[in-house]
Amino acid sequence: MLRRDPLANPERAISRLYAYVAYRIGDGPDAEDVASDALERALRYRDSYDGSKGEPTAWLVGIARRSISDFFARRVELELPAVEPAAADDLETDTARRLVLAEAMSVLSDRERELIALRYGADLTARRIGEMLELQTHAVEVALQRALGRLRTALDARSGDEVEVRAQMPVRIGPSPPV
């Protein structure tokens, strides 16, 4: 067994973990709670990490997936935190893009969200995702492209050449079994 500290670089690990969780359940306090829970578990099982079985982020994401399952099991219906309204003048482009993205993400299925979260949140490669979900790398890439296509369509559908961003937009995600 190759023993290595999976949390040797805590800032990086926590950032990736949080990004993954937030893409799955939405940015905000709930994501912080779930990420905290996952980290607590990770600290508990830190010594059992086997470096030969995968990279630290994949190990951490595996723990986070269980935390997310528990989170969905606890709540019948999750309402993503409403984004605080902001005046049109001080609404930065970055914030606007986040809002648009969050809204567009709501059209994706749970499986597509999972794939997007693993690829762009946890920053795992398609190969690693395939290992984690027991899928072929090619199948992961195809599914990711399909998810990106749907996301692109959703973003485009927001408007023609221009997109209006609403400050308040509660997004509802129904509970679904983990992928």
Binding site: P10, E11, A19, A96, R97, D156, S159, E162
Partner: protein, 135 residues
């Protein structure tokens, strides 16, 4: 209301750039917690290092004949001890009339009688190498 142009939507770039980030407080608190629970695995690592170093040194000495040299040096030392024991060399220093130690006296060391072949006062360990006068 904020208006964004369609050209801004490059989905992949957007997903990376808009990746949710934890708050600074959350990050700092948890990073500190993780560091506080850092496992200590120095013991096993130190033992492994000591074993590896010993094996390496043994291999190096073996490769360059160091082990044979060391064993012959030990053998030689044992032989010398045996001879000294047989001829009765004492480790006890002789005391000079002045009260000093005879064996730790530089004058004695330099001018003591008998250092070569044929000297009756000298215990010659390699007497067989001495040239013997023709009978």
């Amino acid at each position: 209301m904020k208006r964004l142009r369609k050209s801004e939507y490059r989905v992949e770039t957007m997903l990376r750039e808009c990746r949710p980030r934890p708050s600074a407080a959350f990050l700092a608190t948890h990073a500190e917690e993780v560091r506080a629970h850092r496992p200590r695995r120095g013991g096993a690592r130190r033992t492994a290092f000591a074993v590896a170093l010993s094996a390496g040194m043994l291999a190096a000495f073996g490769g360059f004949g160091g082990i044979g040299y060391a064993s012959s040096a030990v053998k030689h030392a044992v032989d010398v001890t045996k001879i000294a024991h047989l001829v009765g060399v004492s480790n006890k220093p002789a005391v000079t009339p002045q009260g000093g130690s005879e064996t730790h006296n530089p004058t004695f060391d330099q001018y003591r009688p008998g250092k070569g072949c044929g000297d009756k006062n000298h215990i010659h360990l390699r007497e067989n190498e001495c040239k013997k006068p023709p009978k």
